[in-house]
């Protein structure tokens, strides 16, 4: 996915002089994950700016840049290292348009590598999407495929609203899973073409309108159609769910897999249609379960699909513990087995 993200940044920098990248080590180094590789060389150190080491300062500076008409793309080096910028994010970035009666919008993209599974030492594997998703005024998106890495980042940068763009560290070196089935169609009523695993499945972008390969913010996609039960997931857990669906075939279960892609705005339509079709749902993410995004998903599915549910909506998530050290993280992360265990508990006997 790193290549797709890099390409998206490069294309945006090329097409729009207002786009500026800034963050720690994004210049000569190309970022610790190399997502900004070569950008300073091509566009100069002013447009791909190595900042001092201070995340609140970075985001605060980006706010001022956006107020002057630029479209800053901020890189936070790791998820936990975005926390120093939390006040700037919650009290300013998320609220600026609202507090100025629509006058001052902040088209800032905040790229945050998140999640674990890469052997990172403490503070390098956090999943903080729940904090962002609960903050009105932010869009929160996360790609799970290479194509969406490109398409959603384009859309985020094109958006006139601030977007927290969560990059699953585990999938940085991924190519799209060959065994994933072709994208199933979205809920027909939604009216936009499904964005699939290839960049060709473009839907309407936000902000400055759609472009080739731009994935729509606010649209989930059914990665795998199924009739038995519906797995709802996003980001780093998509491959787990696809693998679980594959494995479940052996038990005669045909699992649908929904990739949310966008946590805010939330695509109720696609999710509810997919759940109603099966009557059973499991939500999967690696962040801690308590108060996680999975709670919101389970709650709203419960509200909206109550009479279609044959079993409670279950959650498979990280435990309610600080992220473990590398040697133990495998126990914490949702696994195919844990997903299948949850599916097995969906009251099939009734």
């Amino acid at each position: 996915m790193v290549g797709a993200l890099n390409a998206a940044l490069r294309d945006c920098l090329r097409e729009d002089p207002a786009v500026h990248v800034l963050g720690e080590d994004v210049g000569a180094l190309g970022g610790v994950f190399r997502v900004t590789d070569g950008l300073a060389a091509e566009f100069g150190s002013a447009r791909c700016l190595d900042t001092p080491l201070a995340e609140a300062g970075i985001l605060g500076t980006a706010i001022g840049m956006a107020m002057y008409g630029l479209r800053p793309v901020v890189e936070m080096q790791f998820d936990a290292f975005a926390f120093p910028a939390f006040e700037q994010l919650v009290s300013h970035v998320a609220k600026m348009r609202n507090r100025t009666g629509g006058r001052v919008g902040l088209p800032i993209t905040i790229r945050v590598p998140y999640g674990g599974g890469v052997g990172g030492v403490e503070h390098h594997s956090d999943s903080s999407e729940a904090y962002y998703a609960h903050t009105p005024g932010l869009h929160v998106v996360t790609p799970a495929t290479v194509a969406d890495g490109y398409g959603l980042l384009r859309a985020a940068i094109a958006s006139d609203d601030p977007v927290v763009f969560l990059e699953p560290k585990r999938l940085y070196w991924s190519s799209d899973p060959a065994d994933a089935e072709a994208p199933a169609s979205r809920a027909p009523a939604a009216g936009a073409p499904a964005a699939g695993l290839s960049a060709s499945g473009a839907g309407p972008g936000t902000g400055r309108g759609a472009r080739e390969g731009v994935a729509p913010i606010g649209r989930a996609v059914v990665r795998r159609a199924g009739t038995s039960a519906t797995l709802i997931t996003y980001g780093p857990s998509l491959p787990i769910c696809l693998a679980a669906a594959q494995a479940a075939k052996a038990d005669g279960l045909d699992l649908a897999v929904v990739d949310l892609r966008s946590l805010v705005p939330f695509d109720d339509e696609t999710v509810c249609a997919a759940v109603r079709a099966t009557g059973r749902a499991v939500v999967v993410h690696e962040a801690s379960g308590f108060g996680g995004v999975g709670a919101e998903i389970a709650a709203r599915v419960g509200e909206r699909c109550f009479h279609h549910l044959a079993a409670p909506v279950l959650r498979v998530t990280g435990y309610d513990i600080p992220y473990p050290p590398p040697m133990l993280e495998k126990h914490h992360l949702p696994s195919v087995d844990r997903v299948l265990d949850a599916v097995a508990r969906l009251q099939w006997e009734q």
Binding site: G60, T100, V264
Partner: protein, 416 residues
């Protein structure tokens, strides 16, 4: 464009202190004796018209503070953090800026906002509780009053930096813009202050940071806030120029800030100015200042009221007489009356504004929530036709209605 001089990369075979830019500290350090004009020889040389203009604005600003405080007592203003005693800083900050410049005020800086041309009612919208920011930041080049302390300092840096980037791309469109960020003495303790100053210095951004050191952060005196020789001494730690000024000396404030702004404008980097002043009123109308400072202290500072000091100067130099003072008093009353009238005429806020500007386009969830509220209000209105007249069918927040007719008044300057 060179953002910072990187030619000073480590002298590899030289002494190890070659790390980073080496520059002489001496020119960055403030004179620990604050700059004064009043009572010095420089006062005689000061432009008399400018001094009179400053004085006029101080008089109006003082009246504004009084009127706003009265409105809190009448319950027409939820809260008001008066800048009484700090008017020289407030007025000076606005006056040294050119139209292309930007102001980044703190929550106490309503008067700087008004002095830059915002209608009083709009500058007070936040404190009235009708909306968050009552003026259009782009129209006036003033960021919203910032309640989270020191956070807006980084915004000033980013904006000034962006303007330089744009100017470098297209020198013809160079605005030669300066951003002025206002913070209090207490706010200098926040990490955001530190980060903003450092970014400004590293980027060489044209920003002036004005610390209004009024001696207190709510109840906490400066001695418990910071142990530095002066707050202006912080500048050297960022490699920027630090200056100290008597913040109750309107002429000195104007001079030091003008110099600082031109320093930044000319590309010589940011400046940190500490103005030593005093808040004569309580923190806000809700505060009880007697809990943490003595009446004697306040009285001693009242003797150094910036208005009194400038008044005395003008009278001594024959630039003000009783007739002039009476005329000024009338203008001040006219301003107060206008504020009251604006309050009378101000419309109630529209609940539709709750949902209209969370995003450029409301999400489906927000549309549903807006519809729910709309239906509820409609039902309530049906039950009680004399009740709340609002319903949610419009785009909401009619900021034009708030700012229209504001153009001619131009804040304190045009109140005559």
């Amino acid at each position: 464009m060179t953002l910072v001089d990187h030619s000073t990369s480590p002298d590899l075979v030289g002494p190890p202190h070659s790390h980073g830019p080496r520059r002489d500290a001496a020119p960055l350090l403030p004179d620990p004796e604050p700059v004064r004009v009043l009572g010095t020889e420089a006062a005689a040389a000061f432009d008399p018209e400018l001094a009179r203009d400053l004085h006029r604005r101080l008089v109006l600003a003082r009246r504004f503070n009084q009127q706003a405080t009265t409105l809190t007592r009448q319950g027409r203003l939820a809260v008001y953090p008066a800048s009484t005693g700090q008017e020289a800083c407030q007025v000076g900050a606005a006056m040294v800026l050119r139209p292309q410049d930007w102001l980044f005020p703190s929550y106490r800086d309503t008067l700087a906002v008004v002095a830059r041309g915002v209608r009083p009612i709009d500058a007070l919208t936040l404190m009235r509780g009708h909306a968050h920011c009552g003026y259009d930041p782009y129209e006036h080049r003033i960021a919203p009053l910032s309640t989270p302390l020191a956070t807006q300092a980084a915004h000033a840096v980013g904006l000034a930096h962006a303007a330089r980037l744009r100017a470098a791309e297209d020198p013809a469109r160079d605005e030669r813009l300066v951003a002025l960020a206002l913070v209090g003495d207490g706010a200098t303790s926040e990490g955001d202050f530190h980060e903003a100053l450092n970014f400004a210095a590293v980027l060489g951004a044209p920003v002036v940071f004005l610390v209004q050191n009024n001696g207190y952060a709510i109840s906490v005196p400066l001695a418990r806030q910071c142990a530095a020789p002066t707050l202006a001494h912080k500048a050297v730690g960022y490699g920027m120029v630090g200056r100290l000024v008597d913040g109750n000396d309107a002429l000195a404030v104007h001079q030091v800030l003008s110099d600082a702004v031109e320093h930044a404008r000319s590309g010589r980097g940011p400046v940190l100015v500490e103005a030593i002043t005093y808040r004569l009123d309580a923190h806000t109308n809700a505060d009880d200042a007697t809990r943490y400072r003595s009446a004697g202290e306040v009285e001693a500072w009242r003797a150094r009221d910036p208005l009194t000091l400038l008044d005395a100067h003008l009278r001594a130099r024959g630039l003000l007489d009783d007739a002039g003072a009476a005329e000024l008093a009338r203008a001040a009353e006219e301003l107060a009356g206008r504020i009251r009238a604006e309050f009378e005429a101000a419309p109630e806020p529209d609940p539709a504004t709750l949902f209209a500007h969370v995003y450029a386009e409301p999400t489906s969830q927000l549309r549903a929530q807006a519809a729910e509220l709309s239906a509820r209000l409609a039902a309530e209105a049906a039950e009680d036709p004399d009740g709340d007249p609002y319903h949610l069918d419009g785009d909401g927040f009619d900021a034009d209605a708030l700012t229209a007719d504001g153009r001619g008044t131009e804040g304190l300057g045009g109140a005559a």
